[in-house]
Subunit: 237 residues, 2 copies
């Protein structure tokens, strides 16, 4: 928050969202902003680049920075639908049921997904998510015991993510997502209300730490009628 360019960025986001800078109009020029904020032009440009990356403005050389009409985009921006976002969007409290939470020996499939060798163990956590009486999502999490020495049903019931970042201090650096459609397994049929659907949407999630080591593999299995993924992509030349 003490970074000057971040402060400027956040201030300008507010002003755009409050309508002080209107859609399809131009922001003050970089030189004007440099004067207004009593800073250097490069710092202003850092803030403006952040605005552009996050879909607030469109920079046009020789003309200026135009405010984008964000009402066209009904979604935040950054593309990834986590369970929490989904829950927020559905607007109702979901019910999480923990079906399994134990330290296991990974089978071959898991070893492959987690790029494991030898006799490392992993935490397996299986949870279903229920919205208005319907069990819609099955989340299967696998965490390497090397990084996550302890896990419990209580933690799984709340948020694993918060536990990892806040309690264990693990810094998640990047993630790879893969979306495919599969035929439901017996487990899917047992733990979800599939209602005759013949397919299930599987989001495979590979989570990496700061040092680029893989430490978590998650499969989020969604009933197809309730699934929606949005991605907002910006060209960079």
């Amino acid at each position: 928050m003490r970074n000057k360019y971040l402060v400027i960025y956040q201030e300008m986001v507010q002003q755009i969202e409050q309508g002080k800078f209107k859609a399809n109009q131009f922001l003050p020029s970089e030189n004007e902003l440099t004067d207004q904020y009593e800073t250097s032009r490069e710092t202003i440009r850092k803030a403006l680049n952040l605005l552009a990356q996050n879909g607030y403005i469109q920079k046009i050389r020789g003309k200026g920075s135009m405010v984008i009409d964000r009402s066209k985009f009904d979604f935040p921006v950054s593309g990834l639908v986590s369970f929490k976002e989904l829950a927020d969007k559905m607007g109702e409290r979901p019910v999480t049921t923990v079906h399994d939470c134990q330290l296991i020996k990974p089978d071959r499939y898991l070893k492959e997904q987690l790029k494991l060798r030898g006799k490392n163990q992993v935490w397996e956590v299986i949870r279903s998510r229920e919205f208005s009486g319907q069990r819609i999502i099955l989340d299967k999490d696998y965490l390497m015991d090397k990084y996550v020495p302890y896990m419990s049903e209580e933690i799984a019931k709340e948020s694993i993510y918060a536990y990892l970042e806040d309690q264990l201090g693990l810094v998640i650096s990047f993630a790879k997502k893969e979306i495919v459609v599969e035929v439901p397994t017996k487990e899917d049929r047992d733990l979800l209300d599939l209602e005759g659907f013949h397919n299930i949407v599987v989001i495979k999630n590979y989570v990496y730490l700061d040092d680029a080591s893989l430490f978590q593999y998650t499969e989020s299995r969604h009933r197809p009628d309730k699934f929606r993924f949005v991605d907002f992509a910006r060209r960079n030349h």
Copy 2:
């Protein structure tokens, strides 16, 4: 290509891909690179930031820039599977059949998708994509005649995208993708080899021009067993 930081970026990408900089090792420090390339540190940093954004390196404060083991990621990076990428990946020449290419009056659904009012017309292009004898993908493109005055089967048979950018000089700025699963329509069943699949994966694509105006809406309808989407997301604090 004459941008110094771009040249440096591309040179370093090559060196990483050729293994001159090995995975899990550190690049020369920014100061060393500044000397080597006889430039300023900010220029080096621009190149390094590009490398980081594209998943080549991991910058760690106080330590250096570590080369990421990209063999973990079997996919380019930026998350979007275009038809062409898919084709490249399948490794065989696909067959494109143009089923429809005409100027139409948009119905209510289309008007809504394209945020159209009044009596604008749109080009409708419907193509199927065939891989090893199986029609797998149905692409439905809708282009506003305001921006695309002419379209033909020949163009549709090749690449609409190349036509827009190279011939018409339209600059595509950003796109929103939405992925949902639907029940196949009669059109899907007629034009694709669905082989008893009960669902179809629909990728809705909203394409925007440089001035933030929406000009194209595309639905890419995939047979579920052949569909795969990969997204590589990087945290930015």
